[in-house]
Symmetry: C2
Subunit: 426 residues, 2 copies
Amino acid sequence: MTDRYLIVSSDCHAGLPTEEYRPYLESRFHRAFDDFLAQRDARRAAMTRLGVRNEAFAAQWFQDNAEGLRGGWDSAQRDKELDGDGVAAEVVFPDADAVDSATAAPFGVGLGLSGDHDPELGMAGARAHNRWLVEFCALNPLRRCGVALLPITGETDQVVAEIRRAKETGLGALMIPAMWGGNPPYHDRRYDPVWAEAEALRMPVVTHSGTAPRHEYGDHLGIFVSEVTWWPARPLWFLLWSGVFERFPGLRFGVAESGCWWLPNLLWFMDRLYLGAHGGKKLSPFAELRQAPSAYLDRNVFICATNTKRRELAHRYEIGVDNILWGSDFPHPEGTWPSTREWLRNTFHDIPVSEARRMLGLAALDVFGFDAEALRPVAARIGPLPRELGQPEDQTAVERSWARARETGRHWLTGDDFPYLGKEEA
Amino acid sequence: MTDRYLIVSSDCHAGLPTEEYRPYLESRFHRAFDDFLAQRDARRAAMTRLGVRNEAFAAQWFQDNAEGLRGGWDSAQRDKELDGDGVAAEVVFPDADAVDSATAAPFGVGLGLSGDHDPELGMAGARAHNRWLVEFCALNPLRRCGVALLPITGETDQVVAEIRRAKETGLGALMIPAMWGGNPPYHDRRYDPVWAEAEALRMPVVTHSGTAPRHEYGDHLGIFVSEVTWWPARPLWFLLWSGVFERFPGLRFGVAESGCWWLPNLLWFMDRLYLGAHGGKKLSPFAELRQAPSAYLDRNVFICATNTKRRELAHRYEIGVDNILWGSDFPHPEGTWPSTREWLRNTFHDIPVSEARRMLGLAALDVFGFDAEALRPVAARIGPLPRELGQPEDQTAVERSWARARETGRHWLTGDDFPYLGKEEA
């Protein structure tokens, strides 16, 4: 109880103010880049019309956080902000500015990365961001795992080359488009060389929320928000059921900033199907798998669950404690910065310390290959103590309050018809 | 405890062997109908390749159930099968044969109803089925609520006319395509006359699982099954967030044969968003709604949850007991026929009788406008007794075992951070 938490944020964001990407972009794309910059106002107007951008909130947000927000691309400022939050290490996704999109990666290939991007421009924009990110992470490599942008629907040789370049230059993970657009879906064997290279180089592959079929939503914000977490999760069952995790047992695939609340039902549904539920008796066998979907999940999948909700924590024995990777989402307003310590206390005070340590850091260390030993001194300096998270010294009652939920676990595998979610009176 | 259950199946299927629809189809479509029939083998081969049709299972199924399966279109046989199952009344969807598709409605507008159908052929096929269904339901109108097929992406005047014709001829509900294909999504105001007419005539509008973007799945059955329940649910949040339930407060919308396990998370997610969760603070207000999404759900939405699973019943206080409408799915093999009584015992034995009565019949009576008084003698003749469902005479312990889950209910509205799902030791 005197060990400070080693906290890893599995979902943070960094990116240059868009116009500053120019030196990182090959000059033959500069004219297209000028066109992209010129359409910035139109893009912002569309976001405002949909309601994703609220004028009044935006004004207040930038006024209140001017200094800290520079941490989106300023390395020293960033260290200061992460220290303040008690976060020892982070996984760095693109697009620091989630309010005005002023730091969008060139051609919108950051959180807007989509299979429908022009292949040439898409790869050019991705490389520009990746080049900058290499420099940015190199300023504090111990604490930063950079996520390379990887538009995998383009030409496979180029995609594989970009994976190698990302690895060689020190990046640690690969973000692929959540949607393949008009290109072949991710069950297609054309992507096998991509999965093979990611597996061989131990580069986790991740989707991140952001893309969605906006043309279908009109200006109805609620529709967008209701399903913007489904699209990035969708590749998970495309990979799983087409046997990608069987062919590439070392591949790690993750879904970022889409919550983890949807996972228990998905696992229950898929496991039952595979294990011969009545509802599937008329179907052919699932010959591409050799074990239940949840077994692949535990081996191959992780969830960058970002700002975990209390409801999600109640589901953690169905999801798998080690599959939940917390994140602060710095510097996005929907995240926990700059009040992460308070958020952690409100969220984790009655969760066992042993499990909180895994969700708040240990699981992410493993997935993203951070150097745990080298990070310990950082954690010892800035990490919160369990008592600062409101966790009692004597954990007996806390552990007991979750005993039945833990024992029931994935009830469909433990012989229970009913789930058991929620805390008992201690 | 001596009252027999009045059981309503909110999801059954009936349809003619396809070729017998010819007399119900306007003659100018007969040539197109011949073409449709000629492609039957190709369609069956595609289903077999995807794995939705398993040769060995199909052979056994038809051998074992030859007599009962005639109840898919033979009225007297159907009554006998429903009596055997203890089902007093039913909601009649299309496509009796879910194994070989030998009773597919003309042009595949039954469970395959899609916004991408040719508008003229789609409406012609729908009308043919609707004409037959009128006759079929008229043979036992007390026990059958026929669901008219309604391809609403076609010409609005024709759609509205078909709603009126369906009502006048005795049908009781409207099935719309789960997917709009290349047509305007269901938030579009072009559909307002459709919702208005359905509201005015008290015709519930329903989607049913079946359609999905199969071209994206290759031959990977697991992908298909994993998301075939999402597509029919999708219109729910399109209608809700675009204010359809605000503009048409009397409209009832339902999702059939897609389970109800996904609803608690959706309600939690949408309610929190509307009520101002931190994650939505950067967004504009949801001006199209005047109350929380769950309030619309309780007023406007129902779920034909078909063969309810024990896990789903554990979620019933979050879903809303009266929003869950059980169904037998007769005569589909994934349903409970011909062993419905046994299924009910296995599923409901430790659920309070008072709640089981609502999910097994009372809620559906209300939604579909059955004549409850006239059905009582039928139920008194064929319905099971609570003790035949294994439900104890003294319900005190059963009620107590669910007390905490019931009190917690929708925890995000009752002040609880954590859900509480599952039965306490009695």
